[in-house]
């Protein structure tokens, strides 16, 4: 086990941490940020282009979501979740420009699978932003514009998949939504098997 002084400077830098005061549930609380976990969003988020630095923070209080915390604005965070939790068959379509911005080569798998069969991790993470409403059933997830992160390069981007057919405000628990989490809603009743009339 190397001691900290044995590590090359870059590794030491990536382990340096500092504490910031973030806003959680309307109250300030400290958050420890390690340099190596900082994500750079060269284009910010849509409509928030000035916000370039974020971290993904686990928090048991919001499981299975996490926080996407801005480092420039400690009061600004998003609730994010893996899309598979919302839509089991979610598909990411990354246009070439987005791949370039994320420094992902064309061979990178477009499947946001949590892990491959060999246990190998994919090159990137995909998150969707959740909007919690006072009425739970009005809460939504933005499936159309997910946040994609190149884990290795620590690069992030909000990708607008305008031809995907996905919704910006996908209900979290709509009984008739396609690709729903079966645990959320009652099982969809089977169609009564009536076939189209023969032509």
């Amino acid at each position: 086990m190397p001691t900290e002084s044995d590590l090359p400077p870059s590794a030491r830098d990536s382990q340096q941490s500092h504490s910031i005061e973030v806003l959680r549930f309307g109250r300030q609380e400290p958050l420890e940020v390690t340099a190596g976990e900082v994500l750079t969003f060269p284009h910010g988020l849509v409509g928030m282009e000035h916000l370039r630095q974020f971290v993904v923070v686990e928090d048991p209080r919001v499981y299975p979501c996490r926080w996407l915390q801005s480092l420039q604005d400690p009061a600004l965070a998003f609730l994010i979740v893996e899309p598979v939790v919302i839509a089991a068959d979610y598909r990411l379509d990354l246009p070439d420009q987005d791949r370039r911005d994320l420094a992902l080569d064309a061979s990178a798998s477009a499947e946001p699978s949590p892990a491959t069969a060999s246990g190998e991790s994919p090159a990137f993470d995909v998150w969707v932003i959740v909007t919690v409403r006072p009425q739970p059933e009005q809460s939504t997830a933005n499936l159309l514009a997910p946040v994609v992160v190149n884990r290795e390069r620590r690069l992030g981007k909000q990708v607008v998949m305008h031809e995907s057919g996905y919704s910006l405000r996908h209900p979290l628990a709509a009984p008739d939504a396609p690709g729903q989490n079966p645990a959320v809603a009652a099982p969809a009743p089977r169609e009564d098997g009536r076939a189209d009339p023969p032509a």
């Binding site: 299975p64 979501c65 246009p95 932003i129 409403r133 006072p134 739970p136 933005n142 305008h162 645990a183």
Partner: protein
């Protein structure tokens, strides 16, 4: 702002490889054809504005989550219950 007048069938070229053609005009609707390389993304302005609005809503809601948060998290929690606090 550059202002151009075009007739149906006429085009403008933006940069080296983006071309916008006026295909049809009907009342207050203009039909445009846009030819651009794959890496140039063409989005309706309203869509960008909508994504912005959703981002704003989401961040505002995350700043002070409503009391419904627990129910919402419970509804999307897969397989096992959330870890105890």
């Amino acid at each position: 702002v550059l202002i151009l007048q075009r007739k149906i069938g006429q085009a403008i070229r933006i940069g080296d490889n983006v071309e916008v053609v006026v295909l049809a005009v009907s009342g207050d609707h203009v039909r445009l054809g846009i030819e651009a390389p794959r890496e140039v993304r063409v989005l309706r302005h309203e869509l960008v504005q909508e994504v912005e609005a959703v981002n704003r809503d989401a961040s505002a809601a995350a700043q002070a989550p409503p009391a419904s948060l627990g129910a919402v998290l419970g509804a999307i929690t897969p397989h096992r219950p959330p870890p105890l606090q």
